[in-house]
């Protein structure tokens, strides 16, 4: 699996971003996350699965409950951000290189 694409796709969904925002306040079980959202608990579980596969959240078993938290390493988000960032930066580099080319003699 392409790790960067997974994180990219995971963040692109507004419901999943909402899940991440809720988890940013504190670790929660599925029911707590779903309680504040207009989507079903099974749907939230599915979103959590995608976020976990993308490396954005981690989970642990706490008795009968499974507690979800933002992955403190945050590498999925960091990598996705850098992926987008370097695209933007290289486009700007290309524009600058080719702008500087104007006015020069063609070889």
């Amino acid at each position: 699996m392409d790790y960067g694409s997974a994180a990219f796709a995971a963040i692109a969904d507004p419901t999943r971003r909402r899940v991440l925002e809720r988890l940013s306040t504190r670790p929660m079980a599925v029911g707590e996350i779903a309680a504040g959202m207009p989507v079903s608990r099974p749907a939230v579980s599915q979103h959590l699965k995608v976020l976990k596969e993308a490396g954005l959240v981690s989970d642990r078993q706490d008795g009968q409950r499974r507690i979800y938290a933002i992955d403190p390493k945050g590498l999925g988000a960091m990598r996705a951000w850098l992926d987008q960032f370097w695209d933007t930066a290289l486009e700007a580099l290309k524009a600058e290189i080719e702008r500087r080319e104007e006015g020069d003699q063609d070889p």
Binding site: G4, G74, L75, L82, F85, T88, K94, E101
Partner: protein
């Protein structure tokens, strides 16, 4: 079960209508002209972004309050074909002299006088080794959730 996945390097490739010499010079000497203004660290706006053109040269942002915010340094300087930079900014958006990720940029001639610019940002997994300091800051706007918001804004912007 928590699994740790080692993130793959970020790899980018773009073709520019210029010689490798020009592409290398714009990337390095004219770094300030193309580096996105919004991308800087420190507590003041970015005035000038600089790559000092020699091995060991600093890679930094000069801020409007007169201070310099170090980002990393030049590890290899091979004009016009290759430059290797140390990127020492972690996922907590702070300079960390103990963190080493590498940005390698190569400039290869193509047919028709163009140049292929290839960039690889690697060893990203080391950004996850920040320990307690990073853990303490990851929830703040300066941490990765802040990055996430910036990133989401990019995704939401009309293209």
């Amino acid at each position: 079960m928590t699994t740790t996945i080692k993130p793959a390097p970020v790899k980018k490739s773009i073709s520019v209508s210029a010689t490798p010499e020009r592409a290398f010079a714009v990337f390095t000497q004219r770094f300030d002209a193309w580096w996105p203004r919004s991308h800087s660290i420190g507590d003041a706006p970015l005035k000038e972004a600089v790559i000092e053109g020699r091995v060991g040269g600093r890679w930094f942002g000069r801020l409007e309050n007169g201070t310099d915010a170090q980002w990393g340094e030049v590890l290899a300087w091979e004009p016009p074909s290759r430059v290797l930079l140390a990127w020492r900014i972690g996922a907590n958006w702070q300079y960390d002299p103990d963190l080493l990720t590498e940005v390698e940029v190569t400039f290869t001639p193509e047919a028709g006088g163009a140049t292929r610019v290839e960039l690889e940002h690697r060893h990203l997994e080391r950004m996850g080794e920040g320990g307690e300091g990073m853990r303490a800051s990851f929830e703040s706007d300066g941490g990765w959730l802040g990055l996430l918001k910036l990133y989401a804004a990019l995704l939401d912007a009309p293209s």
